[in-house]
Chain length 359, copies 4
């Protein structure tokens, strides 16, 4: 038996722990393991395919990143190719992957990636390739699993940032706006905001208005709490009617340097008169040594992926349905993404302890 | 409406977050909140009962310990009283609690504690007191809930310790034996051992033999891995036949200073000839600022406890059944404790990545 | 004896530790201690003057920020006052401070602040006020002292950020540009860059050129190191002749949102063709719990400040001249600021281990 | 030019950073570098001598331990050899080292170690070997240098432990006794105790009495502070007349399992009636990722050691005399060890903020 492993999309703390567990579990069964470098690039012959042994994965449990490298570019079904005139086209190179995999004697592939990677995996499965998926999203927005690895680390990184901003905000009577990851789902903002005792949390799933945010800040001020912490998911947008007092339409603003946090901070300062600063946490959330939770979950995913290969669960993804790891069909997972439910007990408790969602 | 809150048993990171969320949620509903200091001592008139407001819980989210203090001593049903001759008797003071609670106008009590505290709560409920429970155990051994707060922090503290021992073990070719909490359940040892890449994990739920542990260490040595990390739950005991080569019966040994880790370390050194050191992590696991996971879970428990009071769920305990917080009857919880299941996927994966359980 | 304490300028981890040590030391001598809120605002009657006791400073050692609050605005010698027509003027309110201090029975003031605060303190000393200074600068740019508190914490925060960016940079073959504090002095960039194994460090004290930076990145790429980490002090500017290939004059650029890091990142990406991202660490460097080093240094400063008051060292500042705390005249300190010396052994070693300074 | 590097004695965070800086600096000069594994064992032919290149030291800056391994056993001048009858003798193998070094073409040796290693280095220098020393002691007890690497990390680890014990001590009204490293010098106990706001600090340099310790604890109790934290250096002993109330002579006690902390804890509990627990921090202090301070200092030491080799400073040790790294003759260093000076400003400030030294 010979399997291959690939990692695609943005990196997340715990990727190496998945790789390590999968390699050790597979070697333990007497299997060969290959690693495709930079997503499918290795299998496409554009990068290396390397043998993975116990030695290869020694000491990587606690390391962020992925020893297989990763990339955000290039579905094999629409692979960018530069034309003679310098322009770009997209070509379907999925057959190449399958042929190369056959030539390398690969019996099955463990594909670790997010929604995009899982969709590609499913299309390859449909063509006959034997793939087991491992969900990877720092935003925790893949459905079918209670949690994905990397999320807990990102949340703790965000909490640490809030803790730090807290003391300086309080010392200077300032409003601090912190932008965290979450293009479509506000889980990081929600969890870190509650745990960091933010005063306002803005997420894509709950419509909000700038004036409500300012009301909360003013109410705190009136009660002698002269600082406020606002945590914002990067993916928030404003209702179309809400034009900034600075004469700017906010949604369009959001794309520019400094991000949504900067825009919101300037609006707050303008409207409330309070000194307001913003910070974009950015890539810090993807990096670093995974927390215990993420190391364990990632290890369980890696071990379960090898078990799924042994059980020939092609087209399935490993998932946490507490307290067990299960496998579910990728097609089921792709039907919908996970989002913050506005009436979930987490949101309800956040409101109960006094957090405003700007609504 | 006036409620009281008490914390009993050993402290756990997140206790203050539960108190904070319960106080803020209750005050938000317009309720009065009192805190009984040092478990039931406050309600027994042996310590203070203090009003709890938003001001009382400001800034405590990230703090370990409990602002209400706690105690391991004294069920109100068998309260220690010193006699005139200096000896001790136990008396039932449960009626006093109920009378004092009535006199203080307390409509309901939120009792935060472990198995022992929950059993007491149930007995008071049986007598007519209105109580909602919040489970607290750093060992994660309360059934009915996927997780308890404090456990994640303890696991991360243990992982950090393993990470630190790792480098020194490797530099000196040593065996390191780390004893972590877990009197009856080996969850901390199991989770921290996997995440910290221990070589051997010993838990109360899986019978083990010293010779198997030494075999693993010798096998690593033979493979050029001249150091090993052994993680031991404090509650492990040895099969009766396994007498130490040093002429000592091990089970009896376990009670003495230095704990089980010291005994096991000396056996390993004697049997393998390898320099072996032990460390008891002890109270470090109870302390410190809670992780993001624990801050969030504790906040959810606190908020849900107030909702449970509003819903008159007397004799119920809040619990995590991912992804939701639910309430379950305390009598159900008390029927059995949670233990590591030897065939759980976590154990299976641990074995697959090469960890020995000494069996 | 009655003394007052004030904190001015940006906050720095360790401020509370100074206050705590000064209060406890002074109380221990039987002195009264007052705290002037928000710099001199308290003493000017625009904010509170509060009594400080052992109780006031309990538990604040590990807390970032300052319990006395602080402000960047308003020298008492040129205090902003709003005129009837809405415009602003500046008035000299230094006499008010002295009169209020007299009225409050204040015998001496401990002023904790940076260059600006020390200069103000000296002017008040010149008018007859009895002041002892405690240097505070997160940039470590006050002369006369080997180190200032807050700097070590800021450096560790920056290192953690670099560590995190490292794994994601390596996984994605990216260049990462991290902007850290240091308006005039590059100590944070230098120390954190070395400790975080940055590839390029840019500081205000060493002239650099964009092309040299790109050369280093290209050389690493050619050697198979397909990622690079660039650490930049916020105060760097480019030689006037070095116009960006994007048609922008860089020095002017530096002021805009996203800061110098963003500009440099875009230039690197344009010139090398490598995917490049930037991050501004910003206020995270001011916040958080002080490191052991900063807690100790700040405590020593606080204790020494009280000793200096007892010794009537008016117009002196406490300073670390390892291994001792000494006092030096503020006028000496104000003569010049501390800067990174380009031929210091730290810089020499950085070059020896392969770090480029872009020169 | 070809140099060798060895690490001896207990490991300390920063060892790898020294090795890394020395290797990169030396390679940068075009030199060959060899590593002697396990102290002098490599050079004695009992272990490997390995080539060290840029690749060998990649990514080790942040890692605890030493890639060269280390050992506490065996001066080459009195090397343990097992006789035919199983007993041990000691033989002088120093000539072998010199001959092997010559055969390997080694021009100079960088020896990283503590007092013992430096003394051995000096004896080899006296025989004509060309050696530059780098001081290594986690206890900070080598004279001639303001600081040694590893100490700052150990202090921060101890502070973290105190912070954790604090919350649990306070919640349970307990006395906690924490034993930290420091066989002859109490720097770790002193620095960590102050920064962690301990109530009592016991160091070998300051004679103390158990009754004075108990007085402090009782005084706090009387003032409503019902918990206390006692930090003890492992090397403390009691004045000969002070026999424990439990009928035990304390000095002899100190050797047994559980260490001095356990003995002191039991005495405190016996004498004050307060529940008292002890914890031995042990090897946790040697492990883990070095702090920023240690990474920088170790890097400077490594770079300076190569400069010292280039300058032919045989028999010299690199040292920090802030703000510069200098070289000083090892014979000077060996004349006396560094100890806590009882009248140093650090001790004076500790007393001023209310810490008892048990005297």
């Amino acid at each position: 038996m010979r399997i291959a492993i690939s990692t695609g999309g943005g990196d997340a703390p715990g990727l190496n722990a998945v790789i390590r567990a999968a390699v050790l579990s597979a070697r333990n069964r007497g299997w060969d393991v290959l690693g495709s470098k930079r997503g499918y690039a290795g299998l496409l012959g554009d990068d290396d395919v390397v043998p993975l042994t116990g030695e290869s994965v020694r000491g990587i449990m606690a390391h962020g990143g992925t020893i297989l490298r990763t990339t955000n570019r290039g579905s094999p079904f629409a692979y960018p190719v530069r034309n003679a005139d310098g322009s770009w086209s997209e070509v379907d190179r999925s057959d190449e992957i399958m042929e190369n995999a056959r030539n390398l004697g690969i019996d099955a592939l463990i594909s670790i990636g997010g929604d995009g990677s899982l969709a590609i995996a499913q299309r390859l499965v449909d063509k006959g390739m034997r793939i087991v998926g491992v969900p990877k999203t720092i935003d925790n927005d893949v459905s079918g699993t209670v949690m994905t690895f990397g999320f807990d680390t990102a949340v703790n990184t965000a909490i640490e940032a809030i803790d730090k901003l807290h003391t300086t905000a309080e010392s200077h009577d300032r409003v601090m706006v912190l932008e965290v990851m979450g293009r479509d789902a506000g889980f990081i903002a929600l969890y870190a905001g509650i745990a960091g005792t933010a005063d306002v949390i803005l997420v894509p799933e709950i419509p909000w208005a700038m004036e409500k945010v300012c009301e909360k800040i003013r109410a705190r001020d009136a009660a002698g709490r002269r600082f406020s912490i606002v945590v914002v998911a990067e993916g928030v947008t404003m209702p179309s009617g809400d034009v900034g007092v600075m004469g700017e339409s906010l949604p369009g603003q959001m794309k520019r340097v400094g991000g949504v946090a900067d825009t919101i901070a300037r609006e707050i300062q303008e409207r409330t008169g309070k000194e307001t600063r913003s910070l974009v946490l950015g890539h810090l959330q993807r990096g670093g040594s995974p927390t215990g939770y993420d190391r364990l979950l990632a290890t369980r995913f890696g071990g379960a992926a090898v078990e799924a290969v042994a059980a020939k669960k092609w087209g399935h993804m490993v998932a946490l349905q507490s307290p067990h790891i299960v496998t579910i069909p990728i097609v089921e997972v792709l039907k919908e993404s996970k989002r913050v439910e506005p009436d979930h007990d987490v949101v309800r408790t956040a409101r109960a302890v006094g957090i405003s969602f700007g609504d």
